[in-house]
């Protein structure tokens, strides 16, 4: 297996899936140039008909992806930064997510949306937000948050083959992260969490870029004989509740680390599920480690203060294990 980075994994998944299905095509802002690398070179392989630069018209081209899907094609639609989804929320939430249901099952909506999210160093609030929580309450969507190159490739390929609207959230700080990624057919199923590290004292659910931080904290605490089980849900809709609950049944404690905000966030959602369905397993309160409820600031020390980090994850774990 070759070592490739997160961006290369995206590129590989796109190229393989576009090769596989001629009704798959790519549209979005600057996808021809592949400004950030993910779509680089695809224009040479697949031509201008299937690799299309859109105007900066998020509502227009996201809606066009909906129409193209209804016409029997399989669009991959890049919304450059996840914050730009706000310009297209009507088309994502009212059209893409609802048309299958409202049509009594007549519509299939095989759209993959890709968007970069998260704090990546001074991009400021409109380019750094973790927005997937906003879509958690929109039935009809599937939400994917890969934490590394191998999952990135496997989840993106699964997303493209899915017959529902899927949003793949790609953390902007993970671009250079490298690991071994299987060449060719490599599919990661939706709704199946990854146990990144087994442990017995506390369950640490980590989402997206938080998985890297969680693993560092787990390694550090192991030296003090605090055994941390790290779980990466990989997809938020569908969510592998069973994996999380089974882990809590074993460890009796849970910390959820997410870069989203505290109120109404993915961590809050998982905490509620555990409180609801796993209350009897718990020996300590459910703890959430999230970004502060402030817009993500620009200046480096402020950004660092706003985002959940290893120190806060560690503190939360020490708190629930009492050590």
């Amino acid at each position: 297996m070759a070592q490739i980075n997160f961006i290369q994994a995206i590129n590989q998944a796109l190229a393989e899936e576009m090769e596989r299905d001629p009704l798959t095509f790519l549209m979005g802002e600057d996808v021809v140039l592949g400004a950030f690398g993910a779509t680089k070179g695809l224009i040479d392989k697949f031509g201008a008909k299937r690799v299309r630069n859109t105007p900066i018209s998020e509502a227009g081209f996201v809606g066009a992806a909906v129409g193209a899907a209804m016409a029997g094609t399989r669009p991959i639609c890049e919304v450059e930064f996840a914050g730009f989804f706000y310009c297209a929320c009507e088309q994502v939430c009212n059209q893409a997510a609802k048309l299958r249901y409202m049509s009594g099952g007549q519509a299939t909506m095989p759209i993959t949306f890709r968007a970069v999210f998260g704090a990546m160093g001074g991009a400021a609030a409109q380019h750094s937000e973790t927005v997937y929580a906003q879509f958690l309450s929109v039935p009809g969507l599937k939400l994917v948050v890969p934490s590394g190159p191998s999952d990135m490739k496997g989840l993106l390929k699964t997303a493209i083959r899915d017959n529902n609207p899927v949003i793949v959230f790609e953390h902007g700080a993970l671009g250079g992260l490298k690991e071994e990624v299987p060449a060719g057919e490599h599919l990661v199923p939706f709704g199946k969490a990854a146990v990144k590290r087994e442990g017995s004292n506390v369950t640490l659910v980590a989402i997206g870029a938080m998985v890297q931080k969680a693993m560092k904290v787990a390694e550090k605490l192991e030296r003090e004989n605090i055994s941390v089980e790290v779980i990466d849900p990989r997809t938020l809709i569908p969510l592998d509740e069973n994996a999380i609950l089974a882990s809590v049944e074993k460890t009796n404690r849970i910390v959820i680390a997410d870069e989203g905000h505290l109120r109404g966030g993915a961590a809050a959602d998982i905490a509620a599920i555990v409180a609801d369905k796993g209350f009897d397993f718990l020996d300590a309160p459910v703890r959430r480690v999230t970004s502060l409820d402030v817009p993500i600031p620009f200046s480096p020390p402020l950004e660092k203060a706003a985002i959940a980090d290893e120190g806060r994850i560690e503190a939360a774990i020490r708190d629930v294990v009492g050590r």
């Binding site: 018209s57 227009g60 066009a64 193209a68 209804m70 029997g72 049509s103």
Partner: protein, 324 residues
């Protein structure tokens, strides 16, 4: 342009179906048989009928909240439509959509839409899908004067023009966005001139003249099918009924328009106008037209009977069809 007798009869039958369906929908809504909001298009039949008569079965349309007429014109069945707006499981969407969301993919009806301007990017994308799939199907995006002030209108026209997509944007300008006169909220008198901003042809059409609508649409569809790009048509027409059925209950009469204005437009009824033209030109006899009216009345009665006798959905169906 010579229009065949069959085509003329088809357009008249469509207009009669729309008039009958909308009148019954209004009556049933006022009688409390229909849940939710109902928007009818009485007075606007010619644009739906003329536009869709220029399409073939594999062509697609997107529609609006005032969409019954478009759906009927594209071949939608009255019984399944009526069942849907009565919330029955035999309806087009198994009772999940209702009046504003009727869909029939087998007929290329991508759906009415509850969001003003919501269908325009979808029409654009449907045309893009035809290009990607290598088919020469054309998509029509219906919208109203109100939607022409939505961002999606402008984004869609630009995108369709820059990619030369096979789409025809059809504005039915009925003079009002909900309860607000168009002139008070729109920077131009004619929506059609907005086409110039996007480098596409724009054409003002007498929206109450089904033949004129058919002719202009046929030209725009031919252009789209030939790969020459989109066209914007503006059908000038008028909404006899209110924005939403039952609005008199909270607005009273004459709240935002004069009765005389409505009466003046009723004199320009698209059905009466077509009937006169047919008989005077000798194209179609009065007896033939009357037979169509009688046939439509019967079909409408059957549709209502079907809808009324159909079952409501079971509560257990509520979670069906969220995901594929």
């Amino acid at each position: 342009m010579d229009i065949s007798k069959d085509k003329l009869l088809e357009m008249y039958r469509t207009m009669q179906k729309i008039r009958h369906f909308e009148s019954k929908a209004r009556d049933l809504a006022l009688a409390g048989e229909i849940p939710g909001f109902v928007h009818v298009s009485i007075g606007e039949e010619a644009s739906a009928a003329g536009v869709c008569a220029a399409l073939r079965k594999t062509d697609r349309i997107t529609s609006t909240h005032r969409g019954h007429g478009h759906l009927i014109a594209k071949g939608g069945r009255l019984d399944k439509m009526m069942a849907e707006i009565l919330g029955k499981r035999t309806g087009y969407c198994k009772g999940k959509g209702g009046s504003m969301h009727i869909v029939d993919y087998s007929l290329g009806i991508l759906g009415a839409n509850g969001i003003v301007g919501g269908g325009l990017p979808i029409a654009t994308g449907s045309a893009l899908g035809a290009v990607i799939a290598g088919k020469d199907d054309v998509t029509v995006g219906f919208f109203g004067d109100g939607a022409s002030n939505e961002g999606t209108f402008h984004e869609s026209l630009n995108l369709a023009a820059v990619w030369k997509l096979p789409v025809v944007f059809v504005c039915e300008n009925n003079g009002f966005g909900e309860f607000t006169p168009m002139a008070t909220v729109t920077s131009v008198k004619d929506i059609a001139i907005r086409a110039a901003a996007y480098g596409m042809p724009g054409q003002i059409v007498d929206g109450n003249d089904v033949i004129e609508v058919f002719q202009h649409t046929s030209a725009a569809v031919a252009r789209a099918r030939a790969g020459e790009g989109p066209t914007l048509l503006e059908c000038k027409t008028y909404r006899w009924e209110g924005h939403v059925v039952g609005e008199q209950a909270f607005l009273g009469d004459g709240a935002y328009r004069e009765k005389s204005e409505i009466e003046a437009w009723k004199l320009k009824c698209p059905l009466v106008r077509f009937e006169k033209w047919c008989v005077e030109s000798g194209k179609i006899s009065s007896a033939e037209l009357k037979k169509i009216v009688a046939d439509t009345e019967k079909e409408m009665e059957e549709a209502i009977a079907f809808a009324r006798s159909s079952e409501l959905p079971a509560a257990s169906e509520v979670t069906d069809d969220v995901y594929a």
